[in-house]
């Protein structure tokens, strides 16, 4: 066990346990805040995999953006003042059997497959530079398409989330 293994075990346990709390907790606020630790754990795994830029992007986008958005969703769609934050579950038994079977099958397949791995990876230093070069050369078209998709999605989200009351008023003048 060297330092890499110990740190991996720490982040793996943090990720899986907090993901379990997200899924199994009865209180949706606990789920939302436990998702924070899952995202941080995954970011730690990215750092261990030599993906420093993606780890920072994960923290910025997931923790700073998506999680805040989800928390807004939780706050706006639940009666926070009353005690209506508990959420029910359904089909617990078939779902647990199905997902346990799936997890077992996936882990078994991952374990018995003889992966062709590159054992000694050369030290590439920080990845931001090469990632940026890749986006400007090989992946320039997907990069531009992704930017347009993001713009359209955000404008669409703003339009969809707006209340329809103003639309009614403008269409039917009184």
């Amino acid at each position: 066990m060297n330092y890499f293994d110990i740190i991996f075990c720490f982040f793996a346990v943090v990720t899986v346990v907090s993901a379990g709390i997200v899924v199994f907790s009865r209180n949706i606020i606990y789920s939302a805040f436990s998702l924070l630790f899952t995202f941080f754990g995954v970011a730690g795994l990215y750092v261990l995999l030599n993906a420093d830029f993606i780890a920072v992007a994960q923290i910025l986008i997931y923790v700073g953006g998506i999680l805040v958005l989800l928390l807004f969703g939780v706050m706006l769609t639940n009666k926070v003042v009353s005690v209506d934050l508990k959420t029910g579950t359904m089909q617990t038994f078939p779902a647990s059997v199905l997902t346990a079977l799936l997890a077992g099958a996936l882990c078994g397949i991952f374990y018995i497959t003889d992966w062709r791995t590159v054992e000694q990876v050369r030290d590439i230093g920080t990845t931001t530079n090469s990632l940026g070069e890749l986006f400007m050369t090989t992946y320039v078209l997907p990069f531009e398409v992704a930017s347009v998709v993001l713009l359209v999605a955000l404008v669409g989200a703003a339009v969809v989330a707006r209340k329809e009351k103003s639309h009614h008023l403008s269409s039917t003048p009184r």
Partner: protein
């Protein structure tokens, strides 16, 4: 025991299964979205693990960036839809939302 590709893949498999369990069992639409985020994260771990160990090099990380971008777009749109559903039906229980139009 030395940590290698398999261990990262197993973590991602567990994360995927937990996310799928959340999507199947939870009634609250926001929690279903959280399950989807877990699934996307597990896919991303796979991409980056293969980028590190499978000789995929930077291409795997580039694809992971696209996954993060699409996850952000998906979360924004889905939450807008959930808010709209809440305004209309006064619930976010995915079982009760079975009509496109009232």
């Amino acid at each position: 025991m030395h940590i290698g590709l398999v261990h990262f893949l197993i973590v991602s498999a567990l994360l995927f299964s937990l996310g799928l369990y959340g999507v199947i069992t939870r009634r609250n639409a926001v929690l279903v979205l959280m399950g989807i985020e877990l699934i996307l994260n597990s896919a991303n771990i796979n991409f980056i693990a293969f980028a590190r160990y499978g000789g995929l090099q930077m291409d795997g990380q580039a694809i992971a960036v696209f996954v993060i971008v699409l996850a952000a777009a998906e979360a924004a749109i889905a939450l807008a839809i959930v808010l709209n559903i809440y305004h209309r039906f006064h619930t976010v229980n995915v079982d009760d939302i079975s009509k496109l139009k009232e």
